[in-house]
């Protein structure tokens, strides 16, 4: 009989537990409990002016604050039918690039890698593998740097505004951004050998993969919803995709669509849209042995690395476009009309939805934020169920590590989802 009880899983963002009970090879219980304090953001957003949704919703999550800001912006633009310029689109791509670097690099090197090295945190590597730590910090700080140039700072950026970005980078700053993007790509090439050295557990379970899609593009900030089971769905109909519900042992809402669970995030995007990655990102995926479709959830970490190469390439294109534009501070006119708007964007962990209903003064009457991690919880539990029978003869310590590594592979963002993590073998 094996009971596993991991209270407050470490090296994830936020608080969650894993509880597993196996008796004579039979799984009596396997749960991923999200126990983060309830946040009540949807209630707090009520009564606030539309432009404050960006300030408030950003605070849902420090690591995907840019994503929340951009989702709120998209929802407001959807509600008030605001069109955005090519300049604004390029600036948002650069800001978003900062977030993907900060988030993916933190997960790959600081949260996931220690499991493969048999250590409890990245800090011991500062003594034993200093070059790896320097490499990881360089990449992570690149995210903060580019976020700083475009957003004033990466975490809770200060320039995103419904009227358009409130500050523009100078030509000199953009040239420096371009130079550093090429340097970041060189740094990523060094990362390939580190990633190749990681022995990911063998595991496969096919599931429904959901992401945004815009044909021809590895889209992150626009497009409709795409399900690997049923195809394209309008972003407006996101509620029919997420079908949120609650369970009494968790403060994260859960989601299911065509099956009992679905997966969002880097691996879902890679499976749905991998054909549109940049050439260099495709080459890195081949070098790392990542092929679409990939049914091994542990390899979400590898898909994140591939995405970094793509995001760098996309940002090089955006920075070059901006350098060819005559940048001007924009002041879009916003005409408030009562009604609702939906914003759907890809954040590092998957598809994020914001929906607001505004009155005729632009005051929020109702708000709904659907977080990627909440959408992944069922899929993690289904992965547990598929994984456990094959590993149930292993020691409790080995089982616990494999389960923890699986949860970490999803890079859960729990403070976001508590609207989620410990492993508990009860």
């Amino acid at each position: 009989m094996t009971k596993i009880d991991v209270h407050h899983i470490t090296r994830v963002e936020g608080h969650g537990n894993i509880k597993v009970d196996i008796n004579k090879g039979k799984i009596l219980m396997c749960r991923l409990e999200i126990v983060e304090a309830p946040r009540f953001f949807e209630a707090m957003l009520r009564g606030r002016h539309y432009d404050e949704t960006i300030i408030v919703s950003s605070r849902i999550c420090g690591i995907c604050s840019v994503g929340h800001q951009l989702a709120a912006l998209r929802a407001i633009e959807d509600a008030f039918n605001v069109k955005i310029s090519e300049q604004e689109k390029c600036l948002r791509r650069l800001l978003n690039c900062g977030e993907f670097f900060e988030s993916h690099v933190l997960h790959i090197y600081f949260l996931a890698v220690p499991d493969f090295k048999g250590i409890k945190s990245v800090f011991p590597l500062a003594k034993t593998n200093k070059d790896v730590v320097v490499h990881a910090l360089n990449l992570k700080r690149f995210g903060h740097y580019i976020g700083g140039v475009i957003g004033g700072r990466l975490i809770h950026s200060t320039t995103t505004d419904v009227k358009a970005m409130s500050k523009l980078p100078t030509k000199k700053e953009l040239e420096e951004v371009l130079k550093r993007l090429h340097e970041a790509k060189e740094e990523l090439k060094q990362g390939v050998s580190i990633l190749k050295g990681l022995k990911f557990p063998a595991f496969e379970r096919e599931t429904e993969y959901i992401s945004l899609q815009k044909k021809g593009f590895y889209t992150l900030l626009e497009g409709n919803i795409y399900s690997s089971d049923v195809g394209e769905i309008s972003y407006k109909n996101y509620r029919n995709v997420v079908n949120e519900y609650i369970v009494d042992y968790a403060t994260a809402k859960r989601a299911k669509h065509n099956r009992v669970s679905y997966m969002v995030g880097a691996l879902a995007r890679f499976n749905n849209n991998g054909q549109w990655l940049s050439d260099d990102a495709k080459q890195i995926a081949r070098d790392l042995g990542l092929k679409s479709p990939c049914y091994n959830s542990y390899l979400n970490t590898v898909a994140q690395f591939v995405e970094l190469v793509h995001v760098a390439d996309d940002s090089i294109a955006a920075a070059e476009s901006l350098l060819n534009m005559n940048l001007k501070l924009e002041e879009r006119s916003v005409v408030v009309t009562p009604g609702s708007g939906v914003g759907a964007v890809e954040v590092p962990r998957g598809t994020l939805y914001h929906e607001y209903i505004f009155n005729d003064k632009g005051i929020v009457q109702d708000a709904n934020c659907v977080i990627p991690t909440g959408q992944n919880v069922n899929n993690i539990e289904e992965d547990f169920k598929a994984l456990l029978p094959g590993i149930s003869k292993k020691s409790q310590k080995e089982i616990t590590l494999l389960l923890e590594m699986l949860v970490r592979a999803y890079d859960p963002c729990i403070s976001c989802s508590a609207h989620m993590l410990d492993v508990e073998f009860v």
């Binding site: 407050h8 470490t10 090296r11 994830v12 963002e13 936020g14 304090a37 309830p38 946040r39 009540f40 953001f41 949807e42 209630a43 707090m44 009520r46 404050e52 300030i55 408030v56 605070r59 849902i60 999550c61 420090g62 690591i63 604050s65 900060e102 933190l106 600081f110 949260l111 220690p114 409890k120 945190s121 990245v122 800090f123 500062a126 200093k130 730590v133 320097v134 910090l137 360089n138 992570k140 700080r141 903060h144 957003g151 004033g152 700072r153 975490i155 809770h156 200060t158 320039t159 505004d161 970005m165 409130s166 500050k167 609650i246 009494d248 403060t251 809402k253 403070s415 976001c416 609207h419």
Partner: protein, 253 residues
């Protein structure tokens, strides 16, 4: 040589952005820091745990009954306890929900969920246990964090500015936000952020908390001069300053 101080990071109700800012270090800064202190507990990036701490950094607000016990336990095991960011220092954006003292709206988010019964209003850490130093801001400024750490390691009491954001804003030679006809809380909010929001085309919404003895009446006079409504300014204070009893004297709870 004496043993290195044991430093720990804890998080309560918050977004963990301040912890990310605290580790937004250059390789040299990180190696220097690791040479000076032992980071013994930091759940977000490490599995290790420890019994006692020389410095405990606390992120997040206290908003659940079990968290009250947890922070008291951490306090009892820490020599110095330091708040990290707006949520732990002044309850920050979490305190917006304190304007909804009844459970009706909360039940809208999690209909019938048992967790709601364990939820309290959101409070800053100093409302529950003694705090030795605070690092305000949403998020914290990494430079300010390093300065406070340095002071604490030298045995000095860390100083944070008691003058308003306007001072830094003027030093940056910005056009006053009021001149653009936009609300700004800069005149009464604690500096130390280098007026980052107004300097980037935005306005101050008060994330660092009010300066000591903030003169709200005088601020109202300036607002009047610029034809801006005092009621709208008060509404902006709601975003981060619900726990400030000078501004919101009625405890609705």
């Amino acid at each position: 040589m004496s043993k290195k101080p044991k430093v720990a990071f804890f998080d309560f109700t918050g977004c963990e952005g301040c912890q990310l800012c605290a580790v937004d270090l250059t390789p040299e800064q990180l190696f220097d820091l690791l040479a000076l202190v032992d980071i013994v507990e930091f759940r977000e990036v490490m599995t290790d745990k420890a019994e006692s701490y020389d410095i405990a950094f606390i992120e997040g607000s206290i908003s659940r009954k079990p968290d009250e016990e947890k922070i008291k336990d951490i306090r009892a095991r820490s020599k110095l306890l330091v708040t990290l960011g707006a949520c732990s220092t002044i309850a920050g954006v979490n305190a917006l929900r304190n304007f909804y003292p009844d459970d009706k709206l909360l039940h809208l988010v999690y209909p019938g969920h048992p967790e709601i019964d364990r939820t309290t209003i959101a409070r800053g850490v100093s409302e529950v246990v003694k705090v030795d130093a605070m690092i305000p801001g949403c998020p914290i400024d990494t430079h300010e964090f390093l300065r406070v750490v340095k002071d604490l390691l030298l045995g000095k009491k860390p100083e944070i500015p008691t003058y308003p954001v306007c001072v830094e804003c003027k030093m940056n030679e910005n056009t006053c936000v009021y001149e653009k006809g936009i609300h700004c809380l800069g005149p009464v909010i604690r500096a130390g952020c280098n007026a980052i929001c107004p300097s980037n085309g935005g306005y101050c919404f008060g994330c660092r908390g009010a300066i000591p003895k903030a003169n709200i009446e005088s601020m109202k006079e300036i607002l009047q001069k610029y034809n801006l409504s005092a009621a709208d300014a008060l509404d902006k204070f709601k975003l981060f300053l619900e726990r400030d009893k000078e501004i919101f004297p009625d405890d609705k709870n």
